[in-house]
Symmetry: C2
Subunit: 268 residues, 2 copies
């Protein structure tokens, strides 16, 4: 498939591959770096491969006025507005501002992940390819697998990793931390403890700006793989929910300590 | 302002009202039930007042195949696709499916709130009106205040409240619960305990279907008030973050028990 450089529609490719790849672990395919994903209702979020350095730079500088969620979408959509045009150019980026601080400051899911999920969801909305994930316990749309991998990256990596160019940092910060969760409150709290700074500080803002750049760049990296046809899911979606019999994360002890409650296990 | 029935643009209204209402607690205005909110980048999510019963019915029936986030957006956007057309008609509703189960089953923010936030964000993206919220501690865009009120409703109300019409329920359920949080894992866990059923049961799905209908209907109620010019924020955005010096909720003891950790309080 990789040798086929001729211009063919994404839909044709999916129909062809669907027959070949039924039951295979890797179903994600792509034909070029410029890919149209027209969905059933007609809006095509055509994707063109992103430059990761540009995505990171835009995201980092955007954070200080737009906060995490809008920042990640801006890092991804601003270059696409230039390289592709609409619907990226006319997408109201401020529509996702509300997700900052774990949704209007409630400290739930990190807004960078809501921004990333919204962008990935729109870009892959026309791709109904199903992927069987590494552990074989779930079959999900390729876009869902990508989002799940971005969430797992956020929860398991030592962040932030992004280093602003000379003169671009608002403040120099010393520490990285592993959140072990996608939750804003826990993630930022662990880092604040390590850095020994409060929430309403320039240091904490610099940390979240760099982390937003990390999430935007990792999202772009996976989307580029998807466009190239080389994307393979790294993580198993819904594994925690299946293991714990409730939607959940891998960090039970962070809230429950040693006292993990029993849940009713009655199944229908 | 309410007596002015002539056709005037939203932008004209906002410019006029901005001068009058500077410093006032209530700044939200509307001129008719059919309101255009063209934003800076050009996409107009024109809003037409929704019928709450229709929103609830669509949301409840959608849940069993689309789960919470896409369900709430479908309950809101499907009637608007009929009454208004684009951009609702061409919006890829499947783009928000990933947010189910607190983002791909990670149990973070309830997907119904991510669906509601995304819809409110898009619909109000052209309205830059700032509102000073009840406690006077924050000034936010009117759409953010609406989203914050929907989150607070989710966290404080005894849910689900929606009653399907005869024959529409997949299962009869007995209990309501107050989540005291926007977090899926805690919200659904508290209800499961009370109902004494597991997560992968028809009863739990029926609960989340009704709750999704509740969130879609409450969102429509506030958006209708916004369109009428009668919307006033009920809750104070960012109050928990300001009180606790970290993004947070009102349910500290649910995770921390009596052992609320000290945070570094250094401010810049």
């Amino acid at each position: 498939m990789k040798d086929e450089k001729k211009e063919i529609s994404r839909r044709d490719v999916l129909i062809g591959v669907g027959k070949v790849a039924a039951g295979a672990a890797i179903v994600s395919v792509g034909v070029s770096s410029f890919m149209s994903t027209a969905n059933a209702s007609g809006t095509a979020y055509t994707y063109k491969k992103l430059n990761l350095d540009e995505v990171g730079r835009i995201a980092h500088e955007t954070y200080f006025t737009k906060f995490c969620a809008e920042t990640v979408m801006t890092g991804l959509f601003k270059p696409l507005a230039t390289s592709v045009g609409d619907p990226y150019a006319s997408f109201p980026l401020n529509s996702i501002f509300w997700a900052h601080g774990g949704m209007m400051g409630w400290g739930t899911a990190c807004g960078s992940l809501i921004g990333a999920g919204t962008a990935i969801g729109l870009i892959t909305s026309g791709d109904s390819t199903k992927v069987t994930t590494p552990g074989g316990r779930a079959q999900v749309a390729v876009g869902e697998a990508i989002i799940n991998d971005v969430i797992a990256f956020y929860a398991s990596e030592s962040l932030p990793q992004y280093k602003p160019a000379a003169g671009q940092a608002k403040y120099e910060i010393k520490n990285q931390s592993v959140s072990d969760t996608p939750i804003c409150h826990i993630s930022v709290g662990k880092w604040m403890k390590k850095e020994d700074v409060g929430f309403f500080t320039t240091e904490r803002k610099e940390r979240c700006a760099r982390l937003s750049a990390d999430i935007a760049m990792y999202t772009a990296k996976l989307l580029n793989e998807w466009a190239d046809g080389t994307y393979k899911p790294r993580n198993e979606p819904l594994a925690n929910a299946l293991d714990n019999q409730i939607t959940s994360q891998g960090n039970c002890g962070d809230c429950h300590g040693d006292n993990i409650p029993d849940l009713p296990g009655k199944k229908v």
